[in-house]
């Protein structure tokens, strides 16, 4: 075989005392899709940031097509033929698809070369089946389309190696298939691809070879992912066996939360139209749907961020009057937001502050307007221990924690007050297997204690594993509800596209 497209040799990178990468070797051949696996904090992102020039390695070399190169910034990386699609897109929303592609591309004698750009865009479209309407503003694109634009952007700049950092985390299942087809076609034409993911079934389906990182080191290499079981790979990632939790059969009690004829307006995104649903004690209700079909509005109404235009909501039999976070909390609602970093936590303040934030005015943490720092600290320390939140202590900046630990902290701050019913969106998005398992177990334990849970999610396999019933949202309405016995990925998928209504028998 010819020289690998990219080779990283002995890459070591430390942050203070923490070795984020230690003597990591990795190579990608032309036409190869390499899976990069590892739990949160295993060093995947650091390694890719070294390759893309965001960090300078303490030791180690990077070779492109056999020649050593020095990569100091993203421009160097692009010049070396390395393109990266980050989890968070770097696009200018008000500019069009074509304009975004042309940002930073030198034009002809000071003028932007639109015609040339258009031709190149169409060529890439033909070559890899990645087409986009060139004159549409980015703000009008779906998340999947924005991701496609990021990929096109990398190819536009002549990338020979494409790094994708958890590309499927933001996609609906149908979009994932499209992405995989495009990636396979690119690989078939000689591009190298590094695919970072937590989702083992995706890695097994897509990649040719895998490198597994654990604690910054290469924990193992998988040469035939398709014929390796998920359990084997999970063991490499975590260092121990992972046993999926089981949902015991149970009989739900009375309804703990009901929505009756809820409609909304004045909200970014799809409004709710006459939504009625309920969740009972000892029951987990899933809300499935393609992203953007009203899930955001539903979560906002239930968690008190958006008072509805019409309809009523009850918690434990009491009618909600004001739809304010404080009122809902007082009625016994626990809330975990979809976006941990922007809605859940205050990243620049100590973790303890975020953990007591929703209940700072209660007797537990303050009296007559004076904080009780000892109680706040003790609470945070207790929860850090109980939920095994990995951090230096309660006074560490919340933003320094990994996603899994942040999610545990948010879970802890709600569950410590034993809510009667919990609303949670995308509970394990971006989390590794170990952390996701932990969250699932906590939900099932709540269910066993007779609490109700509403899980809004896009990961159908997760919903099928957790939920007693799954309601599907389509264009702001509940398109139908299936019991766990009737629900399959295929049936849910069909309902998510708006085809076939199924009403649950009461």
């Amino acid at each position: 075989m010819s020289a690998p497209l990219i080779e990283m040799r002995g890459i070591t990178k430390s942050f203070g005392a923490v070795k984020a990468n230690e003597a990591v070797d990795l190579s990608v051949a032309p036409g190869e899709i390499l899976g990069l696996l590892g739990e949160n904090g295993a060093g995947k992102t650091t390694l890719m940031n070294v390759l893309f020039g965001a960090y300078a390695p303490d030791a180690g070399d990077i070779l492109v097509e056999g020649r050593p190169v020095a990569i100091h910034n993203s421009a160097d990386a692009l010049a070396a033929g390395i393109g990266m699609v980050h989890q968070h897109f770097h696009l200018a929303p008000r500019l069009t698809v074509l304009e975004n592609l042309l940002i930073g591309i030198p034009g002809k004698s000071g003028r932007i070369d639109r015609a040339g750009g258009l031709a190149r865009l169409q060529e890439i479209g033909r070559q890899h089946g990645l087409s986009l309407e060139p004159n549409l503003p980015v703000s009008a694109l779906s998340v999947g389309e924005q991701q496609r634009l990021e990929i096109i952007k990398a190819l536009f700049r002549g990338a020979k190696l494409l790094i994708l950092d958890e590309p499927t985390a933001v996609l609906a299942p149908s979009e994932v298939d499209g992405l995989f087809a495009a990636l396979r076609s690119m690989a078939a034409q000689g591009l190298g691809i590094i695919f970072i993911s937590h989702k083992l079934n995706e890695v097994r389906a897509l990649t040719h070879r895998c490198v597994v990182l654990r604690h910054g080191k290469v924990a193992g290499r998988v040469d035939h992912p398709a014929s390796t079981t998920s359990a084997e790979m999970a063991k490499l990632m975590c260092g121990h066996e992972i046993v999926p939790p089981t949902r015991e059969a149970s009989t739900p009690g009375a309804a703990v939360l009901t929505l009756d004829g809820i409609s909304t307006s004045g909200h970014a995104g799809t409004p709710l139209r006459d939504v009625s649903l309920f969740v009972r004690a000892g029951e987990i209700l899933g809300i499935a749907g393609v992203s953007g079909n009203g899930q955001r509005a539903l979560a906002d109404v239930i968690s008190g961020m958006l008072p509805p235009k019409a309809g009523t909501m009850t918690i434990a039999g009491k009618t909600v009057a004001q739809f304010s976070p404080r009122e809902l909390q007082a009625l016994g609602l626990g809330r975990i937001p979809e976006d941990r970093m922007t809605t859940g936590l205050v990243t620049n303040l100590p973790l303890a502050d975020s953990m007591v934030l929703p209940r700072i005015g209660t007797e537990a943490f303050s009296r007559k307007g004076l904080l009780n720092p000892a109680a706040i600290r003790a609470f945070a320390e207790e929860q850090i221990k109980a939920y095994d939140i990995r951090c230096p202590g309660p006074m560490v900046r919340a933003g320094a924690l990994s996603g899994g630990n942040l999610q545990k902290a948010l879970l802890a701050r709600e569950l410590a007050f034993d809510p009667k019913v919990l609303i949670v969106s995308q509970p394990t998005r971006g989390l590794d297997i170990g952390a996701a398992r932990f969250i699932h177990e906590k939900f099932l334990a709540m269910r066993a204690r007779g609490r109700g849970i509403i899980v809004i999610g896009e990961d159908l396999e997760e919903l099928l594993m957790l939920c007693d019933r799954i309601a599907v949202m389509y264009e702001g309405r509940i398109a139908g509800t299936l019991s766990s016995a009737d629900a399959t990925v295929a049936r849910l998928g069909l309902m998510m596209t708006g085809a076939g209504h199924t009403e649950e028998a009461a």
Binding site: G16, S303, R326, R335, T343, T347, L371, P373
Partner: protein, 351 residues
Amino acid sequence: MFRLEARSTTPAWFNLALPLIAIAATLILCSGLIAVAGAGVIEAYGVMLSASLGDSYAITETLVRAAPMIFTGLAVAVAFRAKFWNIGAEGQLLAGAVASCFVGAIPMPGYLAMLLMALVGAAAGALVALVPATLRVKFKVDDVVSSLLLNSVIYYALMALIEGPWKDTFSGYPISPPIEDSANFPVLIEGTRMHLGVVVALIAAPLCWFLIARTTLGFRIRVTGENPEAARYGGINVQRVLISTALLSGALAGLAGVGEVGGVHFQVMSDISPGYGYSGIVVAMLARLNPLGVVPAAIFLAAVMTGAEAMSRATGVPAFLSDVIQGTALLAMLVALLFTAYRIRRVGAQT
């Protein structure tokens, strides 16, 4: 070649080291100007130091000058914590001065007059700060612009007052009538200008620290400033917090004006504040928005101001150097703050 790299943690000693480094850099940069003006750098700084902190009288003079900047520094620090961008401490100070001067001119027992001056002056400052805060909360008007422009409105309103209806009939200058003698703040050290207001300012700093660090309002201010979205999700009424912060900030700036009327000038004139409100921004930034840090930061700027005058007399370097030092200190501090989030790394090979 050097590059900036994001840092995951900020060492605790940075809080103290950064302002000191910024001040050192400022003095080094400004030494060039002193040399250009034809004076010896060491000599000039030496005069500044001895004239501002060299003996007990100099120290009291520096403290008297620091007092209004402690108040405006606290006003800015508290506001910036909530990301309410109050650039209007100058106008709030002037409003506090005018209001307290009105009250102080009414005959009544001295202690009552002083108390009322403080209350009315604080209220006037708070009222002025309420304008940009309300505009922001209700109409999303940029608070930087509105609070800054309001300074000019207040300043010219004050000028109109002291040149017109409120002009002291016994004076040829555009100044207001003086407050009652009984309302003059007591001098604490015989033979100096060290007045009661200075002590109040020194006490206000730890009180503000307590408010920010140990009360639920302070908690809400901090959280609202760092992440209003998470604050709202957590049940905090973000708009109410912004209004409360503005009232508090304006009241503190108003007290700066009260101290100048009751303890230093005993009346209102056009130059009652040589930009103490704007200096408050420098003070708050040097203090890294920590109310306890406001005191040393204000004393530093006050020492520069008193020292610059003496230096000017002794060496001929214009006293305007103190303004240059202030501005440079702010810029140096802003640059220094970069290093709380980033580190410099040497990159070996050339590209």
